[in-house]
Amino acid sequence: MLEAIDYFLSGISHAFTWYNMLLILVGMLLGTFLGALPGIGPPLAVALLLPMVFGMDPIPALMLILGVYNGGVYGGSITAILINTPGTAGSAATTIDGYPMAQKGQAGMALGAALSASVVGGLISSVIFILVALPFGKFTLKFGPSELFLLILVALATVSRLAGKYPIKGLIATGIGCLLAYIGFDRITGFTRFDFGIRLLEDGLDLLVVLIGWFAVTEVMFLVSRKTETISTTGLEKGGILKGVLQVFRYPKNLLTSSAIGAFVGAVPGIGMAIANFVAYATAKDGSKHPEKFGTGYIEGVIAPEASNNAVTGTSLIPTLVLGIPGNPTTAVMLGALMILGLRPGVGLFTTRPEIMSSMMVGLIIIQFAMLLTGLLTLRYYQMVTKVNIAVLSPIIIAVSFVGAFIARYNCYDLLIAVILGLLAYGMRKAEYPVVCAVLGFVLASELEVNYHRALMASRGNLGTFFGSPICTVIIALGLLVYLWPLMKRLMLKLRTSGS
């Protein structure tokens, strides 16, 4: 532990320069803006920077990249709150409570809460990164396909908490999301499935296109069918941003639990922030004093996903830097950036280039404060979106979303798919099927299948592989607890009331 702190302190002199501070601020502003554009997201935002960092010194270049990465993750929540369109899958759960808050004129408060929760989540994650990067990096190597399969199965338990009033509809939506994810190439056999002879479907449906269809197109359809002129039906609440920033600290349990979930998920390679925000949301709902308020525009429903998705950023660097295994698409691009900068990720990086690692650690902490600063300065302008005339806003959202859908694979037919999926989601929302459950199904289905088959292949078909290791046992116990928790909670409440 002391060694880690020593390491951190040595990085201060390398990271704390005016040039680096400026680059962090630029990266943060750029990342937040690009993350807020539907379809761009952190991986593309970081990828767009690669030509710029080529030839730069490694430390300033990494500061810029880290700024864009963190800003990009946070930026995704801005559109999730303002126009019900998450910039990334990591902000999908933020729409559940963030958008209803914006509709109630509390966009500023929701944005402030998201900012504050993101900063706290990011800080916790950075501290974990500093303290346990090396030992935890080695521990995550023990997560094989069977452990990942079980972890994803546990994450699926969140469906029942996201479904709200109609659990069967939630399960149907999850099933439909899963089935849509199976369209295209089977990653295990290499054959195509459910492509109906259409060449376009051979590659399957891109997550970005699905998100744009299910959120952006659908939301715009709902907006145009409304008689009101703006998203916010009431005036904007004054001083909402600061209020939101401070309100977060009234829910320390939610904040810490969600950050811990995000930090853990981030450290395990192959599990993305899409899972973290849903699991954190469900956990927060379970542990809240007012679970009935979730989904109606409740601030706790914004805090949980936002703290968790930003908590992923710091710890996702652990497998990337320590093992050279990127945990998510953004860190995969970052891995490429490191190589462009002439750095070889791995345990050796700690000894061969200690100044790089230590300045990254310091940089991560500075970035969180830069996020707070840029957020406080810019959010008041972002929230104005809810006061723009819907007749003007709706076509602009579609035009920008179409760019996002197109650049996902540079295919014009993806735009058509986004529109068709948008129509489907419109019907789903009208019939009160929770679209977020479908997103969860879509994100998890193929990972679940791939890890199941990989585990069986590695164990030569032995199903005992899912119960063999101590990690599996812990995950199964955790899963049982998660699945049975609502039942246990009801039972405990019954016992308490009958006792009194």
Partner: protein, 167 residues
């Protein structure tokens, strides 16, 4: 009979159930042509979802039969819209159908004229359709949006935009 079916399909609840049934049956049929390993998960999930859709259909129609009006419970339905305010429902339907039509036209225009020209036309037409009638502001907003998108994506980030047959 046909009238009854058409009225039922206007109900989103019934419409979605029909879509799910068709979608799942098509996938189940397709799954038969996939090798054993490749179809395990899709088949399992399709069957589970089918059972759930059947359960939901049963619940829905049981409640619908019980209620005097026969209108379904749960879900915002087109029937409720009409009942609430006929004029508003007609307004909503017209606006929405027009917008969806414009989306498809936009896609076709992109295929012919490329992204920028089509986007300008779409923005102007859509704003007009949605009730924004200030012609000059409408044209300036459309042009400014296109220029902003060009500067950000094409000029700053060198991203390739959808190209049409003509441009």
């Amino acid at each position: 009979m046909l009238k009854k079916i058409s009225a039922n399909l206007k109900d989103y609840e019934v419409l979605m159930l029909v879509i799910w049934f068709i979608f799942i049956f098509v996938l189940l049929f397709q799954a038969l042509n996939i090798n054993t390993r490749g179809r395990q998960f899709p088949l399992l999930i399709a069957l589970v979802t089918l059972v759930l859709v059947m359960a939901q259909s049963f619940t829905h129609f049981r409640i619908a039969c019980k209620s005097e009006l026969g209108s379904p419970v749960g879900g915002t339905t087109e029937l409720e819209d009409v009942k609430g305010n006929k004029e508003e429902a007609a307004f909503t339907r017209k606006r929405l159908l027009g917008f969806v039509g414009l989306l498809f036209i936009y896609w076709i225009l992109i295929r012919i004229f490329g992204y920028y020209t089509s986007t300008f036309v779409f923005l102007a037409a859509c704003m007009w359709h949605l009730g924004y009638k200030k012609k000059i502001t409408l044209l300036i907003t459309s042009a400014a949006t296109v220029v902003m998108i060009y500067l950000l994506f094409s000029w700053a980030f060198h991203l390739r935009m959808p190209q049409g047959l003509l441009f």
